[in-house]
């Protein structure tokens, strides 16, 4: 009788044993799952390709932080990726070859840029937010292309070769792969903790109804600003890794048009949750890398897919997987397991 009541009233509550699992252990499962996933697909594609995918997934997570969690669509996140790439590359080129330092510089400068621009941008919303980011992205692209040409070598770009740092030799593909995987897991873990914390709930509340959150006494500007800086910094990380992965930086790192890729990735994966961002990132990378080989008009295909997603498929792949989990497995399988134990 009691367990029937339980399943009627609270169908999504897990039974006692599962609920007692500490968060860290749950987190460990997630991380292992992601790591295993990427290790598994590596033999299918090349190490270099999968490293590429993973860097894009980091970028996708930065975008999703803004779009999925905070509800702001940015059409200019590439600005921060590019800033990270250029600062990291320029540091190695002109100052020193230490790769870890260079990456930190890339992250730092991207974060600082986000801090500065965020002061203005974060006050806006909707179309204004999207377009103002686009404008700054465009300006940034132009800056590295033309006025700063002396330093950045304009359209041609420049090569980047980091020095070895103990065992960290980024010239070696497997080591690069390992390092990027580590970064991915680190970013995922930090974001997972952050978004499950009260901060994460607050950010999502801001997405729902900012006025109400403000009336509750919170300084929503600070929270939005912080999120913007964080997203910029993570994008900067992705940018630095790009520079090191390709040993090369050019204005494409700040290309405005590349923003569509990350938008597509988060939409198809499922906006608003990190698994979705990663999944979407992989799907987009697969599509953009392999589809052109098989379908000549792949951009048209991308366009139609986007339309289908917008009109029919809003929750994204991960969203549907989650829904499947909620309604079938949790509702039916788990109570059945509970019944078995009762007997």
């Amino acid at each position: 009788m009691d367990e029937d009541k339980a399943s009627l009233n609270k169908p999504t509550e897990l039974p006692e044993e599962l609920r007692k699992k500490p968060i860290i252990e749950r987190g460990a499962i997630d991380l292992m799952a992601i790591a295993i996933f990427f290790l598994l697909i590596t033999p299918l594609l090349s190490v270099h390709r999968v490293t590429d995918f993973m860097i894009f997934c980091i970028f996708a997570m930065s975008f999703d932080l803004l779009y999925g969690y905070m509800g702001r669509l940015s059409f200019g996140q590439m600005l921060y990726l590019g800033t990270g790439a250029y600062c990291c590359g320029l540091f190695i080129k002109y100052i020193g070859g230490n790769p870890l330092l260079a990456i930190s510089i890339g992250i730092a400068f991207a974060g600082m840029l986000a801090m500065l621009l965020g002061l203005i941008i974060v006050r806006t919303t909707g179309a204004c937010f999207a377009l103002i980011n686009l404008a700054f992205n465009h300006i940034g692209f132009f800056l590295v292309l033309s006025p700063l040409r002396e330093i950045t070598r304009g359209e041609d770009g420049f090569g980047v070769s980091a020095s070895k740092l103990g065992v960290l030799n980024f010239g070696s593909r497997p080591i690069m792969f390992g390092f990027v995987l580590l970064c991915l897991l680190l970013v995922y873990y930090c974001l997972r903790r952050l978004t499950s914390s009260p901060y994460g709930i607050l950010i999502r509340s801001i997405k729902e109804d900012e006025t109400r959150v403000r009336f509750l006494g919170y300084n929503t500007f600070l929270y939005k600003w912080f999120t913007f800086i964080l997203a910029g910094a993570i994008a900067g990380l992705a940018g630095s890794l790009t520079a090191l992965n390709y040993n090369y930086v050019n204005p494409n790192a700040m290309d405005v048009h590349s923003n569509v890729g990350v938008v597509f990735a988060c939409l198809i994966g499922g906006a608003g949750n990190l698994y979705g961002a990663i999944l979407g990132g992989v799907i987009y990378m697969v599509i953009s890398n392999f589809l052109p080989i098989y379908i000549y008009r792949w951009e048209m295909f991308l366009g139609f897919s986007l339309l289908i997603i917008v009109f029919r498929f809003r929750m994204g792949v991960w969203g549907y997987i989650q829904r499947f989990w909620e309604y079938t497995i949790k509702r039916k399988v788990v109570p059945r397991l509970m019944k078995k134990e009762a007997i």
Binding site: L73, T124, G126, A130, I139, L302, I309
Partner: protein, 277 residues
């Protein structure tokens, strides 16, 4: 210097043609239409086909190109834009962007990526204080001015125009007076698309023609609409010419910075006067 002014006015005129439709769609339907300049590009390609391949004369080709674009505008409005009414902003962005992607790829498919030059249809020059100014550019500016007055008459004197003005301010109010606003907004959308095609057609002889030309001018027209005010046609007129001059003057001293300067202006405007959609 005179050249700079004339070129600035020409660019301003072209931007005006394109931005009218964008401004109305923004103001009326609260939809940011990334596919707006698709009709601009398609109009150009149709024109080129007619003029270069079928050897039509320019004015006739231009008119037919603009007419050819109308059914495309209708299809986009009927099947995509209308479904996006009241939707969250992100989805309208993405859906219209998808249409733009499909459209550009379709153009590449039909016409290939090769640029098609088309020459100045008038080819004559006006001798003015010792300078020779292309008459064609002056004609463009004159058409823009005529259009400005024509639109003013339309929106101030005709009942359809008044309904649109009222609906831009209070859509529900107009609906509750029995008028099917959506139908009129569609007309406005198609009109805007046709005007964008006009802009493209007039621009073709003086600029470069390629499948992505729509995208490069789209961002500029967003800037024009934001600076001039959404749904504000007089504002769009002024800001189009102002930004055209900005581009022309910037190009004179710093050749590649023209577009960037426009974006800097847009960013400044957005900082001090954010839009609220």
């Amino acid at each position: 210097m005179i050249y700079t002014i004339v070129y600035g006015l020409t660019i301003g005129a072209i931007l005006y043609f394109i931005s009218i439709g964008l401004s109305l769609t923004f103001g009326a339907m609260r939809v940011i239409n990334f596919a707006h300049t698709l009709t601009y590009t398609i109009g150009v390609y149709v024109l080129i086909t007619l003029v270069n391949f079928f050897k039509w004369c320019f004015p006739l080709g231009a008119i037919l190109a603009i007419l050819a674009v109308i059914p495309i505008g209708y299809i986009i409005e009927r099947f995509i834009i209308r479904r996006l009414y009241g939707e969250s902003l992100d989805y309208t962005f993405i859906a219209t962007f998808a249409i733009a992607l499909i459209g550009v790829d379709a153009i590449k498919w039909i016409w290939s990526v090769r640029p098609y030059p088309i020459s100045d249809p008038i080819g004559k020059y006006l001798l003015f204080w010792g300078l020779s100014l292309p008459i064609y550019r002056i004609v463009i500016v004159m058409i823009a001015i005529i259009l400005f007055f024509a639109l003013n008459i339309f929106f101030k004197k005709t009942i359809v125009g008044k309904i649109v003005v009222a609906a831009l301010e209070d859509k529900d109010g107009v609906r509750c007076l029995g008028v099917n606003v959506d139908k009129y907004f569609s007309i406005v959308f198609i009109l805007g698309s046709a005007l964008a095609a006009l802009g493209g057609v007039l621009y073709a002889p003086i600029g470069s023609v390629h499948p992505y030309m729509g995208l490069s001018v789209l961002l500029l027209s967003f800037a024009v609409v934001i600076v001039g005010g959404m749904g504000n046609l007089n504002g769009t007129f002024l800001s189009a010419f102002a930004l055209g001059m900005v581009m022309s003057i910037t190009a004179r001293y710093w050749s590649q910075g023209a577009e960037t300067m426009v974006f800097i202006v847009m960013a400044i405007v957005l900082i001090f006067k954010p839009i609220d959609i």
